[in-house]
Assembly symmetry: C2
Homo-oligomer: 315 residues x 2
């Protein structure tokens, strides 16, 4: 069994590669849910959905999230209602683009949760509908919410930061509301314990991987598997390939480099894979007490992703 | 001011006619909400939406409800998720067809209600977005639910009866759960009190008009205006033009004829308009203590609807 701690886009690229080199049924992804959001009454789980669509081969290849060949009829109609919404209402918001096919996932999930199903059950059902053969687990069935304090503005939710503000504002702190009372979803700790390999995917360390680790019990479980845990740096040449990981790391006092990543993951991962662009930093990474492997980590396509997965398994 | 007590399709046809013969701003429709339903977490108000789309000139002319030129991408995607839903779950139900444009209305409404807005406010906002110039009021801002006891089966909700079972099961009783505690929406009683004319639309008497009257205070308000109240029979030649009004009336002990309608509305309406097909029953209607007007009531199109509205105003 291979367990991957996963965010959205970066993780799903890696997982697509992993599926090509091992039996998909041996793969477990433990996915961040701290950026889940309720929009228009619907429970949206962006990272779970990104991974699901990606592994189903249905993800939009341009955006890296959402469904390919998506239509946008509902958003277009909501756009027409927006002028009626009073100030301060988010009833007409369309900055969070919910495609028509994607909406069906949210309708399904919302109804199942209303029926009392756990998110992990529902995630399994949605995964089966999309033909997934691996196991996708939300990090927790409980509600955890990433909240970010924006300088001069106060606290906002993750999607407001990420989508509405396009992560173009300075963040002074991050917390995961509800995390202290959250329990790992059934199967998460067991999978980490039994895995031959635990992988920390090249996802945003601060807002994708940190919440997964912060679910009570997960840090300890991963720490106990430190020798078998391999992290892949999402920072290449001092920058995130996608998203605000580099900025967020810097704003929150982490060096936005593979060395900063090594420092963050050193308690949990004995090995860090960094990109060839950062080869010169390998000694500095190893000074953090982490074995450093230099390899091509930028996954332009399935071939690179499979090669990276093969490498991670071979270590 | 003209107040119309309204259900869905039949009422909206009449209201379309009314708009053509009076200043729309003088029209108030008090609309049934007892068949509102929460589907996939979304609050759906079928009668309010039917009237809104109809008066906006956007209703689907074939179905009489929903938006014309609707697309169904979300339903099609939900259909693909359905096989994953466990037995008894309604997460994958697609029998209640929510079109893409229609869904935007429900997303908007659901979010506004979550923000604490009253249904009447939200209804006004949606109406303005669709360019309505008349006033649409839900009968109440409170949650009322039509529940029907089906012989040999127990109690089911209205949409399950109406849509899922296509009203092809025998009903032994109907109740409006929550009605005793419901308050008329702001403006409902005032409008009835001040109207020059109150109209009981040709909607299903048992499940569309009865709940409106059953909101505490409405019966008394309409009874006080009995002389100025005109009902239009939804029963023509012993049958409903659309839907199960005739069957429901018979099952619940009302004669499914214009005489039965006269008996139902006699306490509230001094005048009943019946179709020419029922001319022979006019004396029997008048025996119920109701003035009977015989006229063409079948609204094939805008011209007939306008003529009927003109007649109702002239009485």
């Amino acid at each position: 069994m291979i367990v991957t701690l996963a965010g959205g886009v970066g993780a799903s690229r890696f997982l697509q590669g992993l599926m090509k080199v091992v039996d998909p049924e041996s793969v477990v992804a433990v996915v961040n849910t701290a950026d889940d959001v309720v929009l228009h009454g619907l429970r949206v789980s962006p990272d779970l959905d990104t991974v699901t669509y990606a592994l189903a081969g249905a993800v939009d290849p341009e955006r890296g999230w959402g469904v390919a060949d998506e239509s946008w009829a509902v958003m277009a109609a909501l756009e027409r209602l927006r002028p009626s919404a009073p100030d301060g209402s988010t009833a007409g918001v369309t900055w969070f683009r919910l495609g028509d096919r994607d909406l069906a996932t949210h309708l399904y999930r919302t109804q199942r949760l209303r029926e009392g199903a756990r998110l992990s059950q529902v995630t399994g059902e949605i995964g089966r509908a999309w033909g997934l053969r691996c196991r996708l687990l939300p990090m927790t069935d409980d509600r955890v919410e990433t909240r970010l304090v924006v300088a001069g503005e106060g606290e906002i939710g993750f999607q407001e930061y990420f989508v509405a503000r396009r992560h173009a504002v300075a963040v002074t702190s991050v917390r995961f509301a509800g995390i202290a009372a959250a329990l790992p979803a059934t199967g998460v700790l067991e999978a980490i314990k039994e895995a031959q390999r635990v992988v920390i995917a090249p996802s945003n360390p601060v807002v994708s991987i940190a919440p997964v680790l912060a679910v009570p019990g997960v840090e300890e479980a991963v720490a106990a598997r430190r020798d078998d845990t391999v992290a892949i740096s999402p920072i290449v040449a001092g920058a995130a390939l996608k998203g605000p990981a580099d900025r967020l790391m810097a704003e929150l006092g982490h060096e936005p480099s593979v060395v900063g990543v090594a420092r963050m993951w050193a308690p949990w991962a004995a090995t860090l894979v960094i990109d060839e662009a950062d080869a010169a930093l390998a000694p500095a990474v190893e000074e953090e007490g982490v074995r450093c492997i230099v390899a091509p980590t930028v996954m332009h396509g399935p071939a690179e992703a499979a090669a990276l997965a093969r490498l991670v398994l071979s270590l």
